[in-house]
């Protein structure tokens, strides 16, 4: 009976303060949606970035006039670097083969002799796969005599890295504001409900009701707002996923993703609502009775 009483009070509170409750639920929904979307986008970008990085090779082109023997001494020099995972030697012939594969024509058919230089394909150890070290490495290697040019596709990576960072920073900024607003609005509905019920609380206290019974309806009120916010957010996210999945046939989202979205939004929503209301209801109740 106690349980039903608490639930009835909770829904009574929610209905009584329905306008601020709707505003609060929507804010929770938006905050959770942004949080999850932000997490997904940055996670996708991050995994693509690390994919790209792990496939990244640095190409070191040698002076075309260099012989294979001279190239061998440069390779020895390069092997001194303990930041390198492996080095692949690409002879003039191999380069010509690669050229043929990519362009479908023999370079020696076009030109009289093979103009392609000897080169190395270098893969760095994963922990050195970042633009800072790469540009340093490039500079150092280019200073070795006999090395003509060092290439890597840094532009793409730097762009992607900047993008990830920008999304993260602005997302976190928006999120902080939303978390703040969410907290404020949840506390506000609890405050309004406690104030509306002040006479009932006073009566229940005279009848010997404990803190648990008095506070629980308000705590559940916050939790319920979080729950509804979470449900709306999950629904919105899944609709967005379906839309993205149907417009880009490349991206598909599994049932597993949907389950995870439900779990994350609901548990986060309930947790935020519960903690915020539980943390503030005591203060509001005491404030009302402190004047006595």
């Amino acid at each position: 009976m106690k349980f039903f009483f608490i639930l009835r009070q909770t829904f009574n509170n929610l209905w009584r303060e329905r306008t601020p409750v709707v505003a609060t639920v929507l804010t929770i929904c938006i905050a959770l949606t942004i949080l999850i979307a932000l997490f997904e986008v940055s996670w996708t970008l991050y995994s693509q970035l690390s994919d790209l990085k792990s496939n990244l090779v640095i190409e070191v082109y040698l002076d075309p006039a260099l012989s294979e023997k001279q190239a061998g001494t440069i390779q020895k020099q390069l092997e001194q670097y303990n930041t390198i995972e492996r080095i692949r030697f690409i002879s003039k012939e191999t380069a010509a083969d690669i050229f043929r594969e990519e362009f479908g024509e023999n370079i020696t058919d076009i030109l009289d002799e093979n103009p392609l230089p000897i080169s190395f394909e270098i893969r760095l150890l994963p922990e050195y796969n970042h633009p800072g070290y790469m540009s340093l490495f490039k500079k150092q290697v280019e200073s070795i005599s006999g090395v003509d040019e060092v290439h890597y596709r840094h532009a793409v990576i730097e762009k992607l890295e900047q993008l990830t960072e920008a999304i993260m920073v602005s997302g976190i900024f928006v999120l902080i504001i939303l978390v703040f607003a969410m907290n404020l609005l949840i506390r506000n509905t609890i405050k309004l409900s406690v104030y509306a019920k002040r006479r009932q609380i006073e009566i229940m206290k005279i009848l010997g009701a404990g803190n648990m019974l008095i506070r629980m309806p308000f705590i559940l009120e916050g939790a319920f707002e979080g729950l509804i916010g979470g449900i709306l957010s999950a629904t919105g996210l899944i609709v967005m996923h379906k839309f993205i999945a149907s417009s880009f046939s490349l991206v598909t989202f599994s049932l597993h993703t949907y389950k995870l979205i439900w779990v994350y939004t609901l548990s986060l929503g309930i947790l935020i609502g519960l903690l915020t209301s539980a943390g503030s209801v005591g203060k509001f109740v005491n404030k009302i009775f402190s004047k006595k």
Binding site: M1, F4, I203, M204, I206, L207, G208
Partner: protein, 236 residues
């Protein structure tokens, strides 16, 4: 038993709402607390259900003492006391049934038991026909009867009634008084504060006269001073 020893109450910077009160109330008694507005009746009653604690001195209620009582124990004490007020203190937007059920819900009783008991209580105060009605729709006399049913719900050892007839007309007042008398006959102590001397003048119960936060000595109960108090207490 309820005992006051050397009890003084000061409200904030306002001293002497009660001054050095010594009083003993035996179990099973019907006690009338008589005195003009501001004489300290409500203050004395609030001490019994420990809505306030004395500034000095000790109040002992059954096995609880105001000297060192935890908030949790105050709740337990309140669940063993029935309280009735001039302004009824019903939850206006709840039904008659739910109002009377409230102390039983607080105690954590089962639904079936609550339904049976509330019906019995409402029948007792002749309000069973209105059990579904919202409390706000009742007449004042009906509200007080519902409040008394609620106070009786836990079968308390004492009922505290603070001017229970203060807002009621003559007939409703007599009705409430006879209800309290019936409760008393069934073995429950009743302590009733009133300034309606007309209502209680023919009752045989113990009377405690108060003025300015003090209890007047019994030998002055029928003194001319007391006549003056009676006049003050009953301005009509």
């Amino acid at each position: 038993m309820i005992q006051f020893s050397q009890v003084t109450v000061n409200y904030g910077y306002v001293p002497g709402a009660l001054k050095d009160i010594n009083l003993q109330l035996r179990d099973g008694d019907f006690t009338l607390l008589i005195g003009p507005t501001g004489s300290g009746k409500s203050t004395l009653l609030r001490l019994i259900y420990m809505d306030i604690l004395p500034s000095s001195g000790t109040v002992t209620v059954d096995k609880w003492s105001s000297y060192r009582i935890s908030p949790r124990q105050i709740n337990v004490l309140r669940r063993n006391i029935g309280v009735v007020f001039q302004d009824f203190k019903l939850i206006e937007n709840m039904s008659v049934f739910d109002n009377v059920a409230l102390p039983l819900v607080i105690e954590g009783y089962r639904r079936k038991y609550i339904i049976r008991l509330v019906r019995l209580l409402l029948d007792e105060v002749n309000m069973l026909q209105s059990e579904r009605q919202q409390a706000s729709t009742l007449s004042l006399g009906e509200k007080q009867r519902v409040a008394i049913a609620r106070a009786m719900a836990k079968n308390p050892f004492v009922i505290i009634a603070d001017e229970p007839t203060g807002n009621l007309d003559r007939e409703a007042s007599r009705n409430v008084l006879s209800l309290l008398e019936r409760i008393h006959q069934n073995g429950t102590s009743v302590i009733m504060a009133t300034h309606d001397y007309e209502l209680i003048k023919d009752t045989p119960y113990r009377r405690i006269y108060m003025e300015n936060g003090q209890i007047l000595p019994p030998d002055r109960t029928f003194s001319p001073l007391n006549q003056r108090i009676n006049l003050l207490a009953d301005p009509q």
